[in-house]
Subunit: 449 residues, 2 copies
């Protein structure tokens, strides 16, 4: 297998589907509509959107046929930068956001804005594989474009909370911040014009600590006077409303509009039932992506080895690069691989995600097999997942199959059942067996599955 | 967009998901377990599995980094065949069967055989795009490996019928044939050793007619004496059992084992409830893939422009090439793109596949918006898909949004509703509006969605 990609066998698939189905159901409840875009995009759609590093990480697809026809020896000696554009015009998508922007622009006249879409698909990055980082992984995105309404930000908070309730994750925090608040702070500490360096550095606080963050800021020509002024911002504690109130004093009239926005998002979320304890205004949250311009989000699960599992934010001009300027939107992405790891670590997957068949029909002789085959038709007709061991084999072998596949019931058939027109239903967990009519069997299986 | 690939917008996605969900549910009911494999495989896994033409149609992925380092000017002048192996070691998967075989071999010690798996994923082929043929398309496969039981063949017939009942497709035929029956006929007409040419030619009968099929056979050195002997086989009519009975006479003792197999498959399907009228033994069905060795299947929908929508068959040695010989299996693939086109042509998609939100909250002033926002929380809490127009806009604009998105209800709120603590629910199809309590609103929406 290629490095950094994975097979998902039945057990993993069932657990992953539990997460996907949960997220999809919540997206739908909030009126988001499904979209899928192709794995491949023209390279001119992809390049230049993710920075130089991103361009390096694109998987490029070799043109078909005689792809070398315009490559000559001088290209070859000029190296990859001369050859690549001549032999590869397509690449695998790197995220879901850029193809979504491309789709929106292409279909702008057919779309009713605000356009709420969700998209659950794999993306590919030629990154160095390591624990928790893969070359193919799924993203689960929801975005609304074409409205400035802060209701969209509040809906992101609500969706996160609904998803996590359904998944059983309770000890986590939805960190929020605002790019304009970061700008106001940068201005307040006398580092205007250094927003980008400031954000990059402060985002690392969790990982490298305050001293190293300050060192990095100083290297980026943010003065020690500025970093000293930053300290009280970093030491702000208290409830979200207490922080906002303190910031109103610290930032003065410049800060008021963005602080009002933050209060509005929090209050909209709360009036629609969000738990305010799970939302935390975090001034050190910056998020890497350069296109965010408003509220930004990140979800961190507490007491697990992998922290950040999801993120998003508002952007003002995602589609401008494709020719449709001034479309504001806000989006959010659930990191399924990380949520999977967290749920595994916390033991949160329901047991029944590992059950694929509710019952296995086990027959001890050929005539019994025919009898069981007909019973199975009735079982499936009732919508119950079931299978028959496809031939008469040694009982030990057939029961071992049920055990290995985690099938909770076997329907055992030998001569006596055939004669009595009954079925022996065995509960594989307790070992109990009862001789029943097919009707009764269906009753037990329907409640037991 | 690259040639031959597609975006699937919300309306198309909803309809496609209706098909995917139906197929998935049936696969599950029959005890098949989910599997996903990566988009990329090592090229040595893919090449040589689909014939020379297939190798040409593989999408190859350019190696990352300094991929040219071992390419020199002499490779360049030798052309693609010299360069490709040095610059591309991965490709996009061409079907789901080969990755499934690779997975099975890799995990042979963890798998309990018989192994029943389904897989619903896109595949890629660098084919010339044309109507109904794409460069990226989904396959929906179910395979059982590790058993010779003919119950598996019967289950394929049962699954096809269950899927088509749920999709509402009624006028179709499940064509079946058997590779060994084709061999027996080839022998009987005196063309032993010409099975492959015989199958290739006879498979085209539908498209080019009998004379051209015979011409092709003659070109392949099947004698006119042979094709004359073939005529009575091609003219066989009647029920499946009548055909088998005639074939028993025509083929003699040589034909008996395979004819018994066919009868057994038909009888197993019938005793489990399959409609025998929908299954047709078709001696001209051959299927292209070389790895089939037993029963083969194809589904043709009648009275539509695209005929064949699905196919499959039994193979004896799919995994041998990866080092695990003698594992017999049988598989089947639903062609979702074609089923989609057929359902479109026949108008079979349920109307509600186009409904994404059951209700849109429409507020006429800011205070009403807040009131509606809280009502929406209750609506979603009840599991009903809903949304609010995210700001107060002109009524015409808000209702147009509901119309364009095909939202069946609007919940209208102005001052009077606020004062009365009520909501005006408008049925967008009939135009009827009623002023109701939230409780009553939920009742109507729950039954109306």
């Amino acid at each position: 297998m290629p490095k950094g990609v994975r097979d998902f066998g039945p057990e993993e698939m069932a657990r992953r589907n539990f997460i996907f189905d949960t997220i999809r159901e919540v997206f739908r409840t909030f009126g988001f509509m499904p979209l899928e875009t192709p794995a491949m995009e023209k390279l001119d759609v992809l390049t230049g959107k993710y920075g130089d590093e991103g361009d390096q990480l694109l998987f490029r697809i070799l043109n078909s046929g005689q792809y070398l026809k315009s490559v000559d020896a001088s290209d070859l000696s000029d190296g990859e930068s001369a050859v690549t554009p001549k032999i590869a015009e397509k690449g695998l998508k790197y995220d879901l956001t850029v193809p979504f922007a491309r789709f929106t622009v292409l279909n702008q006249h057919a779309i009713s804005f605000p356009f709420k879409r969700y998209q659950i698909q794999p993306v590919w990055r030629a990154d160095r594989p390591q624990r928790g980082r893969y070359r193919e992984f799924y993203q689960c995105d929801a975005d609304v474009v074409g409205t400035n309404s802060l209701a969209c930000e509040a809906e992101i908070i609500l969706m996160i909370q609904k998803v996590f309730v359904k998944l059983g994750i309770t000890d986590y925090s939805i960190k929020i911040n605002h790019r304009k608040l970061l700008s106001a702070i940068t201005a307040e500490i006398g580092a205007s014009g250094k927003e980008s360096a400031f954000c990059t550095a402060i985002d690392k606080l969790d990982k490298i600590g305050r001293d190293k963050v300050f060192d990095e800021m100083h290297r980026q020509e943010i003065s020690t006077a500025s970093t000293e002024k930053l300290v009280p911002f970093m030491e702000l504690r208290g409830s979200n409303r207490e922080k906002v109130s303190a910031l109103n004093d610290m930032l003065g009239v410049e800060g008021k509009p963005v602080l009002d926005e933050i209060l509005r998002v929090l209050s909209l979320a709360e009036t629609a039932g969000a738990d305010p304890e799970l939302v935390e205004l975090d001034l050190t949250l910056a998020r890497g992506l350069s296109y965010y311009t408003g509220t930004i989000f990140e979800v961190k699960v507490n007491n697990v080895s992998i922290g950040s599992v999801s993120g998003g934010g508002r952007y003002d001009d995602l589609t401008g690069v494709f020719g449709l300027p001034d479309i504001s939107g806000v989006g959010f992405s659930f990191g399924v691989d990380r949520i999977y790891d967290v749920m595994n670590e916390l033991g949160l997957f329901p047991d029944d995600t590992q059950v694929f068949s509710t019952v296995l029909v086990v027959a001890f002789d050929d005539q019994s097999w025919e009898y069981g085959w007909q019973a199975l038709a009735g079982i499936r007709e009732a919508g119950i997942q079931g299978e028959i061991y496809p031939e008469v084999a040694k009982p030990k072998k057939m029961f071992a199959y049920a055990d290995k596949k985690n099938i909770p019931y076997t329907l055992i058939i030998g001569e006596s059942e055939r004669v009595n027109n009954t079925y022996t239903l065995k509960d594989m967990r307790s070992g109990d067996q009862t001789e029943l009519s097919l009707e009764k069997v269906l009753e037990v299986l329907n409640t037991g599955q």
